[in-house]
């Protein structure tokens, strides 16, 4: 290889760069930055300093926003939000957009070594709330939140607000989300109508099984259960999972005894149904290895439906119809659900330079509908338009992949119930709140379990669960009883009893302190 050839190769690459950079330059302002990456740092600094001329007196609160993929108009929305926050709490807001898969790595790094990049962040996705509290990565909020406490409790509900308490101190504010989720079966709407069902109907497992066999009799070739999120995705709303399903509260969380779910009657019954469904050929073959999402296999006719979890089957049907590309009727499997401790918390970084302002920002996100609406739906007439019934929809000609800001139903927001429902019925959030209210509130609501003392057992048991649970639920085994027995024995050997004991002890302490 001569140097000449090497340089020729480099030169060729260089030519490709310049030509590509050329195309990028012509269109769009965002791409001009990229074609000259070396200078983009200086240009971004310039932007900041020119901005500082007008907003110098305001400190900046940077807040983490978790997204599926980074939206194009993040800076624009942040600027619009800053207009509100400057006026109301005297700060500018800056977004640190983190893609959902990167949260574990990036959040850990950003909270290390006194880094003050983030002021407000959300714990609960990949990085559990109890972990950040244990690591001292969340500021104690009791004093900071004092002025807002009454407003916050009114907006989020006292139980949600108090749920962030660990050892008597508040370290994070719980997100107001659907705390009660029930299992639903999504069925292509035309098939559902044909067999006399409509979106939102309730069926129990026996009735669902009967429906399966009727559909199967008429359409023997099409499977009924496809995967969602990579697995069968069948939930059980009769239990409070206490975080990880290893040691649960049965009976809709109305007991105070932590038990082993996988040895319960309810689970045995469920496995019995898995067996029946498998025998009638309801499952998509090799379900666990199918990479398709419902949007792929339902419209194309590869399978008729799948399982999902939602606070309301009716709303799940509406959501699925929008997202699967075909009309879906969602059938609710269990009548009741159990409201469990919120899993998402807004926390303040102890390294934050403006903890008071950060607290004010959190309060704003819990109580101010304009601010909340902005962070969820974006800017009016740019990212959404408002319909007559106060629901939001896409701006003409835009869809989920072309719009500049689409958080959808956002679990990343502290209190999404203040926003306009996006492509949902106008009473969507009212229904969410009602579902939370009507569900049985678990006895363990607000109990933050810390399983670091039994973490070995947790990872061992998680491996066992990964090995068996989805295999059973997807009908991928031949001997259901035998596999269930192996599963139960495997959990015992992996030390599930120590986890149950640890949870029981913490629950007892929590109940005693109440």
């Amino acid at each position: 290889m001569s140097t000449k050839k090497l340089f020729a190769a480099l030169l060729a690459l260089m030519m490709v760069v310049t030509s590509l950079a050329g195309c990028a330059n012509n269109k769009g302002t965002s791409s001009t930055e990229s074609s000259t990456p070396a200078t983009s740092e200086t240009s971004s600094k310039k932007e900041v300093s020119s901005e500082a001329g007008t907003d110098e007196e305001y400190p900046t609160i940077s807040t983490m926003v978790i997204c599926g993929s980074i939206p194009a108009d993040a800076d624009k929305v942040a600027e619009e939000l800053s207009k509100i926050t400057r006026e109301k709490i005297g700060v500018n807001v800056e977004f640190v957009m983190i893609e959902v898969a990167n949260v574990a790595t990036q959040l850990n790094l950003l909270l290390s070594g006194g880094d003050d990049t983030l002021d407000v962040y959300m714990a609960g996705v990949s990085v559990p709330y109890s972990t950040v509290v244990n690591n001292g990565q969340a500021l104690a909020l009791d004093d900071l939140m004092k002025p807002y406490e009454a407003d916050m409790k009114a907006a989020l509900g006292e139980n949600v607000y108090e749920a962030g308490r660990v050892d008597g101190n508040l370290y994070g504010i719980g997100h107001l989300l659907d705390q009660a989720s029930t299992a639903a079966y999504n069925l292509r709407a035309d098939i559902a109508t044909e067999f006399g069902y409509k979106n939102g109907d309730k069926v129990d497992l026996a009735e669902l099984t009967e429906l399966f066999s009727k559909i199967k009799a008429k359409y023997p070739d099409t499977p009924l259960i496809g995967p969602m999120n990579g697995g069968p995705n069948i939930g059980d709303s009769r239990i409070d999972q206490l975080g990880n399903k290893l040691g649960v509260l049965e009976d809709y969380g109305q007991t105070t005894t932590v038990t082993n779910y996988y040895e319960s009657e309810g689970y045995k019954e469920l496995v019995g149904y898995f067996k029946q469904w498998s025998e009638m050929g309801a499952y998509m073959p090799d379900l666990l290895n199918v990479a398709d999402a419902p949007v792929d296999f339902i419209p194309s006719g590869k399978a008729f439906g799948n399982f999902a979890g939602h606070f309301s089957a009716e709303m799940n049907g509406i959501w699925s119809s929008q997202n699967f590309g075909t009309e879906i009727a969602s059938l609710q499997i269990y009548d009741d659900a159990v409201a469990v401790t919120p899993w998402g918390y807004d926390c303040i970084n102890p390294a934050s330079k403006n903890p008071e302002k950060a607290a004010a920002y959190i309060n704003l996100m819990a109580t101010d509908s304009d601010a909340v609406n902005l962070i969820i739906n974006g800017i009016q007439n740019e990212h959404y338009t408002l319909k007559d019934d106060n629901t939001a929809t896409y701006v003409e000609g835009k869809n989920v992949s072309t719009t500049g800001w689409a958080m959808g139903y956002s679990w990343t927001a502290l209190n999404s119930t203040l926003s306009y429902p996006f492509e949902y019925p106008t009473d969507y959030y009212q229904q969410l709140k009602d579902a939370n209210k009507n569900a049985h509130q678990s006895k363990a609501f607000g109990c933050q379990f810390d399983l670091t003392s039994v973490s070995d057992a947790v990872s061992a048991c998680t491996n066992v669960v990964n090995q068996y649970e989805n295999a059973l639920a997807s009908g991928s085994v031949t001997d259901f009883e035998g596999t269930l027995a192996q599963f139960q024995q495997g959990l015992k050997d992996a030390g599930i009893d120590t986890i149950i004991a640890a949870k029981q002890q913490q629950l007892d302490a929590f109940l005693a302190s109440k």
Partner: protein
């Protein structure tokens, strides 16, 4: 015996052919999938003989102003600049270490090679780069950490210089009045093309394939993401949503994730330059490693 020699020729050839196919077929399938019509892909799965071809995925990628195109040019940019810097620094460090006249060169060599085995770990490294050097959210975050200089390359080049450049030639250059830098540029480097090509290829590949720097150091400036960042994020996000079903209410807009065909097309686009460049440098790659690897 004729049959025996024939057999001894056929068997290795068949074995090697099979091995080659196992390497090539997945790539071919990937490329074909990227050219397959999206609907066909969903209905029939991946196939070597797709029923319907489509260029839609590539049209999407090469739409001007697209984030993928931008990421692609950034990858090319950092690969070229990074590789050039890497080669220059490696040679400039390895050459003195190979010359007998440098005092304390063993100590310097030890300091360089020590980092091959021991480092500070992710979090301390991150804190150092982000809080002392402030390279986070700049293009330097993609260039400097991990790849700017590799001790392994320094060893290779130093050994090559030691064993393949006779002292007599350097002596002769000196007698002819060449300065140290002239000796390096005019005498030593032209004799070292195999090793230069090797380290160039290795560091170029390292830059091209890297996504960790973007993940760690680009927090706000995600417009600086490389193509590998875009790819890994897409795959990881899809993977996360698969495993996150236990989180209630996680109905993230799956629609924002690119379709299967586009994912395949991005993989092809990310792979293509490497496939094209590799054969050209491969010869010197092998030679360089072998020659640079002999003797300590």
């Amino acid at each position: 015996m004729i049959t025996n020699t024939k057999l001894s020729k056929i068997v290795p050839h068949v074995c090697l052919a099979i091995l080659t196919l196992t390497c090539i077929l997945p790539l071919l399938l990937l490329a074909l999938a990227s050219f397959t019509d999206e609907q066909t892909l969903l209905l029939n799965g991946y196939s070597f003989f797709p029923a319907k071809f489509s260029m839609a995925a590539y049209q999407y990628i090469f739409k001007a102003g697209n984030a993928i195109l931008r990421a692609y040019s950034i990858t090319i940019f950092i690969t070229i600049i990074g590789t050039i810097c890497n080669m220059a620094m490696t040679v400039l460090l390895a050459y003195p270490l190979a010359r007998p006249g440098l005092k304390g060169r063993n100590l310097i060599a030890f300091i360089v090679f020590f980092t091959m085995l021991f480092n500070g770990g992710l979090v301390p490294t991150y804190i150092m780069y982000s809080q002392m050097f402030h390279i986070r959210d700049t293009i330097f975050a993609l260039l400097i950490p991990s790849f700017l200089m590799s001790p392994f390359n320094v060893i290779l080049v130093r050994n090559y210089f030691k064993t393949n450049i006779p002292d007599a030639i350097i002596e002769a250059a000196k007698l002819d009045g060449a300065s140290e830098i002239n000796t390096l540029v005019r005498v030593v480097l032209p004799m070292s093309t195999p090793i230069i090509g090797t380290i160039g290829l290795m560091s170029g590949l390292a830059y091209w394939n890297d996504w960790t720097n973007g993940l760690y150091y680009l927090v706000k400036r995600t417009d600086l993401y490389t193509i590998q960042n875009v790819l890994t994020n897409m795959l990881n996000n899809a993977q996360f949503l698969k495993t996150a079903s236990q989180l209630q209410g996680v109905n993230v807009e799956m629609g924002t994730l690119p379709s299967v065909g586009i994912r395949m097309a991005i993989a092809v686009v990310a792979l293509l330059p490497v496939v094209i460049v590799y054969p050209f440098i491969q010869k010197s790659f092998v030679k360089g490693i072998v020659v640079g690897g002999v003797k300590g």
